[in-house]
């Protein structure tokens, strides 16, 4: 009987050597005449254990990791004998505390099977939400999403149901509405969209189908950042297979309804993650931010009513539809309902994806899940919510992961990226980088953003060189105020947040 093994094809797993381990395994098994079946699954998101191999035995999965090619020989021997004697044996996968202590809804299926296998997807509950949506009319679907309390996971946390209602109610002159998935995932410290697309792409497709049924849109686009070549290939193949199986195309599951889906690549511009810039980019233009109104929900892609949602928002809709709004909104705190996919990154011992109901604290995540820094030195600063998010010092680490709680301390949860820095960080460097990044990535429409960020870099350089330091520190604050007040979007408008947080909480770093 053949032994089934699972080794991820995920970007991070491969970046850590999964392909080399896979080749070594297959070669060693052939040499021993061992009959193994190697499934290339997605990752479970426990990146510090990658490459992590799983073995299926008596319907239970057992994990080994992190593996190198040197571990392979002994591993094959253990497979025939006693798994637990291998030094890299981690026990049953589901019992690994990092995984066991999560509340996985969106990522429940991630890493279980071959991401492209439709049978696996349906066996694990996939398309249940779609089947239910096909029995409902658009308004009923929108109502369900509204009562789930689901808010956009791309950063701005706008209620998804309200956005959908606007698109449902909007009239399209051309009779065409669109669903656009924002898969630009530009924030440093975030990888949940990528992980989902590489591990469970049909969930995104299902979410987009449901959105299409809800608002009456028959075409969808996934705008994917070009930095994700692996996700691109997987999505293309998934779309093709879903078409062949009748989930996409002219007659979704025999319902007579249509939905066509295409994946498009960005071209290395952070600003194209901003929804209106993204739409211009999809139309084939420079990715310039549009003034709102009109809202994309009313005049979006090619001027037509358009839903723009993040990957995780669309994915969460499948849970809402499959399990019901009540089930979903039972998780969470306050106005933050459901689960947050925390991405623990930077200088961290156990980095990875941690899906939790809203409400856990930053400290719990970093200490209990993350196990402190990779370097073993004390944590000094934590940046939450990407490059436009504040750097938080120790006094704020007990803040619960909740949109309102973070807003109250002038920080943001954003897309859920948490980047940990140890005590060797120079916060003046980080403030300078925030300005530099804004200068590189500004779309150029607003002067405070385009020019202010360049000035910001210069002023910080003067502060550091001790040229009229006190005056330049005042100037830097002024500049932050001007950028915040005079920018059209959050690129220029929120770059001041990481800068001010560095000034407020880590003032010493500007006095060296």
């Amino acid at each position: 009987m053949s032994i089934r093994l699972f080794l991820p094809q995920d970007t991070t797993a491969c970046a850590l050597g999964a392909n080399e381990v896979a080749s070594a395994l297959l070669a060693a098994a052939a040499e021993r005449d061992m009959d193994i079946e190697l499934v290339r699954n997605g990752s479970r998101g426990m990146f510090w254990l990658e490459p992590m191999l799983e073995v299926e035995e008596d319907h239970q999965r057992h994990a080994f990791g992190p593996l190198t090619t040197d571990d392979v020989d002994l591993l094959l021997r253990c497979l025939l004998d006693d798994l637990s004697v291998h030094p890299r044996y981690l026990g049953p996968t589901e019992a690994i505390p990092y995984l066991q202590q999560q509340q996985r809804l969106t990522f429940a299926r991630a890493g279980i099977g071959d991401p492209l296998c439709l049978d696996t997807y349906t066996r694990l509950g996939g398309f249940k939400g779609l089947q239910r949506a096909l029995q409902m009319d658009g308004q009923q679907i929108v109502d369900e999403v509204k009562s789930s309390g689901l808010r956009g996971r791309g950063g701005a946390a706008f209620p998804a149901g309200i956005k959908w209602q606007t698109v449902l109610d909007a009239q399209s002159a051309k009779g065409q509405k669109y669903i656009v998935c924002n898969a630009d995932e530009g924030d440093s410290g975030t990888f949940a969209d990528r992980l989902l697309m590489e591990a469970d792409p049909y969930q995104l497709i299902e979410g987009m189908l449901i959105a299409g049924l809800a608002v009456g849109a028959t075409r969808g686009f996934i705008y994917l950042r070009s930095e994700y070549p692996r996700a691109f290939k997987i999505l293309q193949q998934a779309i093709e297979r879903a078409e062949q199986a009748g989930y996409l195309g002219a007659d979704i599951c025999g319902s007579g309804k249509t939905f066509e889906l295409e994946v498009r690549l960005g071209a290395g511009a952070y600003i194209c993650g901003e929804e209106t810039s993204l739409l211009d980019s999809l139309e084939g233009k420079r990715g310039m931010v549009r003034a709102k109104p009109p809202l994309p929900a009313i005049e979006g892609l090619f001027g037509q009513p358009t839903v723009v949602n993040n990957v995780l928002t669309l994915a969460a809709v499948t849970t809402v539809m499959a399990e019901g709004a009540d089930y979903y909104q039972n998780y969470g705190m306050g106005r933050s309902r459901g689960t947050l996919s925390v991405q623990l990154a930077g200088n961290i011992q156990r980095g990875g994806l941690i899906e939790l109901a809203f409400g856990a604290t930053l400290r719990q995540v970093v200490e209990e899940f993350g196990g402190g820094t990779f370097s073993g030195r004390p944590v000094r600063a934590i940046q939450v919510g990407g490059p436009l998010g504040a750097y938080l010092p120790q006094q704020h680490w007990d803040t619960p992961l909740d949109y309102e709680a973070f807003a109250a301390i002038k920080a943001m949860l954003g897309h859920g990226g948490i980047v940990v820095f140890d005590d060797t960080v120079d916060m003046a460097d980080q403030a300078r980088f925030a300005m530099e990044f804004c200068a590189v990535e500004s779309c150029g429409k607003c002067t405070p953003c385009r020019i202010g960020s360049v000035r910001g870099v210069e002023v910080i350089d003067k502060v550091r060189a001790n040229v009229e330091r006190d005056n330049n520190l005042i100037l830097l604050r002024d500049l932050c105020d001007t950028m915040e007040a005079g920018s059209l979007c959050a690129m220029g408008g929120m770059t001041p947040y990481p800068v001010r947080s560095a000034l407020d909480y880590f003032a010493d770093d500007f006095q060296r």
Binding site: T11, T12, C14, A15, L16, F47, W48, E50, E185, G186, D187, S188, G189, T190, F191, R194, S226, E227, Y228, P229, R230, E262, R264, L265, G266, A267, G268, A269, Y270, S281, L282, E283, G284, K285, R286, G287, F302, Q343, L344, A345, G346, N347, I348, G351, G352, F374, Q383, P387, G417, V419, V420, F421, D422, V425, D429, Q430, F433, F437, V440, E441
Partner: protein, 161 residues
């Protein structure tokens, strides 16, 4: 530099293959860059004409996106992640080392045409930085030693090891 006959034919067939899409410009530019390694200035009028755009519009789009290049790059593109999560793991030292080892600044190509060095802002490998991308492969936890080892593979030079 004028386009060769093969280049002209390639561009024409790529335009034809993509033109049916809604908003075909980015897909066309990606396809041309993939096939030729860059987007030659002389391709602009052809693309503009096919899509009924002005040359200025097409040029404006090419120049807006970091990824599109108008000069041939090296055989292999090496991208160093400069974003925060990688900074927290030492990417500033990695980038200094990469520039020094290659004798290149970001955006430059080595004299022998083998390598182009680029900056990138996040590769989605933020839990295991510093991250490096070579062609379509991402590498995790890259320090100076690992960089030299990977580099020697692409340049075929043993001296970097």
């Amino acid at each position: 530099m004028a386009l060769s006959a093969t280049q002209t034919a390639t561009i024409a067939s790529l335009i034809e293959a993509e033109a049916h899409r809604q908003g075909p410009l980015l897909p066309i530019l990606h396809a041309v860059q993939q096939a030729l390694g860059y987007i030659p200035a002389d391709a602009v009028p052809t693309i503009a004409k096919a899509l009924n755009l002005s040359r200025a519009e097409v040029h404006g789009v090419i120049s807006f996106y970091h990824e599109f290049r108008t000069e041939p790059g090296g055989q292999t593109t090496v991208q160093v992640c400069r974003a925060e999560a990688c900074q927290a793991r030492g990417s500033r030292a990695l980038e200094a080392h990469a520039k020094q080892a290659l004798g290149l600044e970001y955006g430059e190509t080595s004299a022998d045409g083998s390598v182009t060095l680029e900056a990138v802002y996040c590769l989605g490998n933020c839990a295991c930085g510093p991250s490096l991308r070579i062609a379509d492969e991402v590498y995790a936890r890259v320090d100076a030693g690992r960089f030299d080892q990977l580099l020697s593979r692409i340049t075929g030079r043993g001296d970097a090891v």
